[in-house]
Symmetry: C2
Subunit: 174 residues, 2 copies
DNA sequence: CTATGTTGGTTGTAGCGACAACACATGCCG
DNA sequence: CGGCATGTGTTGTCGCTACAACCAACATAG
């Protein structure tokens, strides 16, 4: 327990303050775009997106909560609203009658398909298109390193990318 | 208005998903550390820290709200709580009797001094110490680029670094 | 010196997320 | 089969933030 602060250098401090600002502003910006264009919160969109990528478009509540970094009560509330809006349905599992399976409805699927393009466009506008290809590589490595501390269990990481990994080039960035 | 999604490449998608995870987890992690060690929310700490750096340890509410990226109502509520806890005081400005000046109390100052070291240690543990010096430079440039879209007015950026800029090296990163 | 518009802050109201308490199913042990 | 610990979701309660309404102080015009 040394009380020695080991203060940050000028460069470290500046990089940190900027990262802090990004971490503060980015979620709000994404939320705003989705709210405006799709009447969905960022988290609601995430739930629908995860379901859309899952086999049978179905996931257990507990698994869905873990992969979206939410507590089970939070997911339960959100799922209630999304169910009321017709985007998903919940049924008891027959294998384990404690579990609840959430399934994306056809309408929910259409909602995701309609929402994704503008969301991706926003991601490009705010981040990807502002960076050089080298910076994208750097960002990937940096974020991976930071996630080593933030998410050691790797619960949020890369369950299954939407695109097939076949076209990945040989660059071993990680 | 092309509906062409311009989907993300494999590398772009991976870097984006990781950044998204960081932006999701980092604020929560900071909040948790401060709540645990200092019984302060991240935003409360930010308010106290900004005041501690200001001349006379005093700022106008409107300026404080802008520099902490908060709405005025939010700051007003938070200031009420912090005032009740003895960390700051609010007085009407004599120059402009519409304005309210928030001043850090001696107790508030001691709170910041006591809290900052562990907070910096957490920042090191989660981010800075996990990156090479080159990666810190990369992160700085990347975050700066992204902030160009997120915060074009530059309201959150570098009002006045805590350390004097004298020891800044000649590297023109911006 | 009033009348009007603008700026600066505070106080209600509504919605969302965290935490705790609760209900229900399962597994295990005797 | 009965009983308790564990796993899985749902339902209350509280605190915080956004938004809107409101109040007070300045600024300017006539």
């Amino acid at each position: 327990m040394t009380d020695d602060p080991r203060w940050l250098s000028t460069h470290e401090l500046q990089a940190w303050m900027r990262l802090e600002a990004v971490a503060e502003l980015l979620p709000a910006a994404l939320d705003q775009q989705l709210q405006r264009d799709a009447d969905l919160s960022h988290y609601e969109y995430l739930v629908l997106a995860k379901l859309s990528e899952a086999p049978e478009r179905t996931l257990r509540m507990s698994g869905l909560a873990a992969s979206t970094n939410a507590t089970l009560p939070r997911l339960s509330h959100v799922a209630s609203r999304l169910e009321a809006r017709g985007y998903l349905t919940r049924v008891r599992s027959e294998d384990d009658r404690r579990a609840t399976l959430a399934t994306l409805t056809e309408e929910g699927w259409r909602k995701v398909v309609a929402t994704a393009p503008t969301h991706v466009a926003e991601v490009r506008r705010l981040v990807v298109d502002r960076l050089t290809p080298e910076q994208v590589e750097h960002l990937d490595a940096i974020a991976l390193a930071v996630l080593g501390a933030l998410d050691p269990e790797n619960r949020l990481e890369a369950q299954n990318p939407v695109v097939s990994p076949d076209d990945a080039c040989g660059n071993a960035a990680g």
